[in-house]
């Protein structure tokens, strides 16, 4: 029986990076995984949770749990922060011992971030991709510290034929996105983003790779504003480059 992956597409990836999602489907299928898309899914509630609106976060979490509670197998997402929300913060929204708490813990346990799914569940680091160029990697905060994925994305990058992986100075320093932070304190967000862009430029890489839509929006925008030739890409775009989505 094929492994099944329920796609948890996340609102940012759906609104801004649909090609990442198409690439994720293509990759999963190439690796023999059956991809399923529960169409009733919307936002997991992270923006509300992170801004302090627990009531609204709980409403959205309940809806999300209703949708994914009806599924089986792994729930796979191309965003570390959304998986961190489901795995670690959903249970905090419900009283321990309650049915919803139990459901949140159970469903959270099968919710996995894409790179961790490939490397730790499927035991794959070489997906047969080819991407000639110098690449540097930015470690997204919640993927790194929330989910502990320090090596998985880099292992996948090293598995790509033609990639020259260049270390990014301050790889694990926040890019300044921070969700609502970026609009509440735009000046600070901007100076953090500029520092990140300078570090990226200093590597001489052609591409900076990250695994979270929020960081990519911020970094890609910053690179564009600075007139930098470096492109920001989601790891999935590198893993599917040249092959297109099926």
């Amino acid at each position: 029986m094929a492994i099944r992956a329920q796609l948890f597409v996340t609102c940012l990836a759906e609104q801004f990076f649909p090609n990442v999602l198409k690439g994720m489907v293509a990759l999963l299928e190439r690796l023999g995984v059956e991809a399923v898309f529960p169409e009733a899914q919307t936002c997991c509630g992270q923006p509300f949770f992170n801004s302090g609106y627990r009531t609204q976060a709980r409403e959205l979490a309940l809806k999300w749990l209703d949708v994914f509670g009806k599924t089986d197998g792994f729930i796979v997402s191309p965003s570390g922060s959304c998986v961190d929300m489901v795995r670690h913060h959903f249970p905090e929204l419900f009283r321990p011992g309650s049915a919803d708490h139990k459901r949140a813990v159970e469903i959270g346990a099968r919710t996995v971030e894409f790179t961790q799914f490939l490397v730790n569940q499927l035991k794959v680091t070489d997906v047969g991709a080819r991407f000639p160029g110098k690449v540097t990697y930015h470690a997204s905060c919640h993927l790194l510290r929330g989910l502990g994925a320090r090596e998985e994305p880099k292992a996948l990058l090293r598995g790509v034929d033609g990639v020259e992986l260049i270390p990014l100075p301050g790889e694990d320093t926040c890019c300044g996105f921070g969700g609502v932070f970026s609009v509440i304190y735009p000046e600070v967000s901007q100076s953090m983003m500029k520092a990140k862009v300078q570090a990226i430029d200093s590597t001489g890489a052609d591409v900076v790779v990250a695994c979270d839509a929020g960081c990519i929006m911020n970094i890609a925008g910053g690179l564009r504003k600075a007139g930098s030739p470096v492109r920001a890409m989601h790891l999935i775009e590198v893993l599917t480059a040249g092959r297109g989505a099926s």
Binding site: E39, G52, R54, T55, C141, T173, Q190, M217
Partner: protein, 476 residues
């Protein structure tokens, strides 16, 4: 009178930060973090993690048994011949110090570096009562001359260059000072020496209070703290009630964690243990010792199970050093003597959401502070709860944010949580954005999103995955 801030506007403060601040801050924090990392490596990460866990447990035990350990400490201090005063808030603590000073007709008090006295605005209160107060930690001495507070809880003047300090000495002390660290230190030392000898009162804080012996522990690097606690005839220590630890065994764990995390030292140059006034004529030191146990909101923090681990903090400053926000704004932007992630936790709870509700949002929740904290405070979890307290209120405090924001959040949640509305919205945005989009980006957006586009363009809405998925499913 109190000098507690009544409203902290982080965004406005950030805009006042001089451009020289971030590079100076980053230079210093990089050095501290490098030294710290080398020492952690030397111990081995496994052992370090064990130490952190032990530190966490010791501190958690202490703050959840405060009544027991504080009374034990009180008995020990009294038995050793010292005096103990309990201060509910900043005003009470100020009054106790001023009363002691007046009893001794004190004209001049010398102070060793202390965040507790910064927190209660002691200097202002004493000056207002006609008592001169002199900071003797070199960094504090410099910022006091400048008429400012500390920019960092461990290294108060680290953002100032040698040139700025030389100018300051020339202006305030009337001394021709070369911009050399050693010479500047010599000048300060010479000036301070006279004051130590003339002082009527020595004031210190305390990094720890060991309950089993009633011992105040101070961790310093300059020796000025020792002068403050030994030369003047009266010593007053102002110590937050959260600083108590059960015994010397617990203390050893915390001392191992503190200096390594703070400045990247195994131990600081001076670790001082003060257990009351001299007991025999052969012993020297101040004849009178007063310990002021300061609450100032700490028991209130303890009432909140979601945030009480704030009180585990040992004020090492590592969370400031690692915090990307702190590194880009420095300490003054927080508008409170304790800055950075730990300052945010303390300020928003001690001052309340109305005055300091802006601070819990001054974080990207990147979590670097959680990982570096030597006593494993779940800082971002606490910030998340404090954000909730600001916008929704909790058992301790009502909501401080305007109700309109909650209405907005509810509308947003309905739009994002209703599948058909979500899909229609995403289609509408793709249409509405057309006049703004160039090469897949929007350079200037109106409304709240202008705060995004002032820094970088916004990507065009591009949702087409659902259609793609449907077509693909229809084909197969």
């Amino acid at each position: 009178m109190s000098h507690q801030p009544t409203s902290i506007d982080f965004r406005a403060n950030v805009q006042q930060v001089p451009s020289t601040m971030p590079p100076a801050v980053q230079k210093a924090t990089t050095k501290f973090l490098g030294n710290r990392a080398a020492l952690v490596d030397a111990l081995g990460n496994d052992f370090w993690q064990q130490l952190r866990q032990a530190g966490h447990e010791v501190r958690l035990h202490a703050i959840t048994h405060l009544d027991y350990y504080l009374e034990q400490a009180e008995r020990q201090v009294i038995q050793a011949g010292g005096h103990v005063h309990w201060a509910r808030d900043a005003e009470e603590a100020q009054r106790v110090v001023i009363d002691i000073a007046r009893t001794h007709r004190a004209k001049l008090a010398v102070k060793s570096k202390s965040m507790a006295t910064e927190e209660i605005g002691l200097n202002h209160a004493m000056e207002a009562a006609g008592i001169r107060v002199l900071e003797t930690d070199l960094g504090e001495y410099i910022v006091q001359l400048k008429g400012m507070g500390p920019a960092h809880i461990v290294v108060p003047a680290f953002h100032l260059s040698k040139e700025e300090i030389a100018d300051l000495f020339r202006e305030k002390l009337g001394i021709e000072a070369p911009a050399e660290a050693e010479k500047l230190t010599q000048i300060a030392r010479m000036k301070l020496r006279e004051e130590f000898l003339a002082a009527d009162l020595g004031i210190s804080g305390g990094n720890f209070l060991v309950a089993e012996t009633g011992t105040i522990v101070t961790v310093t690097n300059e020796g000025n703290g020792r002068m403050c606690c030994t030369v003047p005839p009266v010593h007053v220590a102002v110590v937050g009630i959260d600083k108590v630890v059960p015994d010397w065994e617990s203390l050893t764990v915390l001392l191992k964690l503190l200096a390594r995390s703070a400045t990247g030292q195994k131990l600081s140059c001076y670790t001082q243990f003060i257990s009351g006034p001299p007991r025999t004529d052969a012993e020297t030191g101040p004849k009178e010792f007063h310990l002021i146990l300061l609450d100032n909101g700490r028991t209130r923090i303890l009432q909140s199970p979601e945030t009480r681990e704030t009180l585990l903090c040992i004020r090492c400053g590592a969370c400031l050093n690692i915090c990307p926000v702190y590194n880009h704004v420095g300490g003054y932007a927080y508008g409170y003597p304790i800055s950075g992630p730990t300052g945010v936790m303390f300020a928003s709870q001690i001052l309340g959401s109305k005055a300091a509700g802006a601070l819990p949002f001054a974080s990207t929740l990147c979590g670097a502070c959680n990982d570096i904290c030597p006593v494993k405070i779940p800082i971002t979890e606490i910030l998340l709860h404090l954000r909730r307290r600001v916008v929704e209120g909790d058992d301790l405090e009502g909501a401080a944010a305007p109700y309109s924001l909650r209405v907005g959040a509810q509308i947003g949640a309905v739009a994002l949580g209703t599948p058909w509305l979500y899909r229609v919205g995403s289609r509408m945005l793709k249409r509405l954005q057309v006049p703004f989009v160039q090469e897949g980006w929007m350079a200037n957006l109106p409304g709240p999103l202008s705060r995004w586009t002032m820094a970088r363009p916004f990507p065009a809405f591009a949702a087409d995955f659902r259609r793609w998925w449907r077509r693909r499913s229809d084909r197969t």
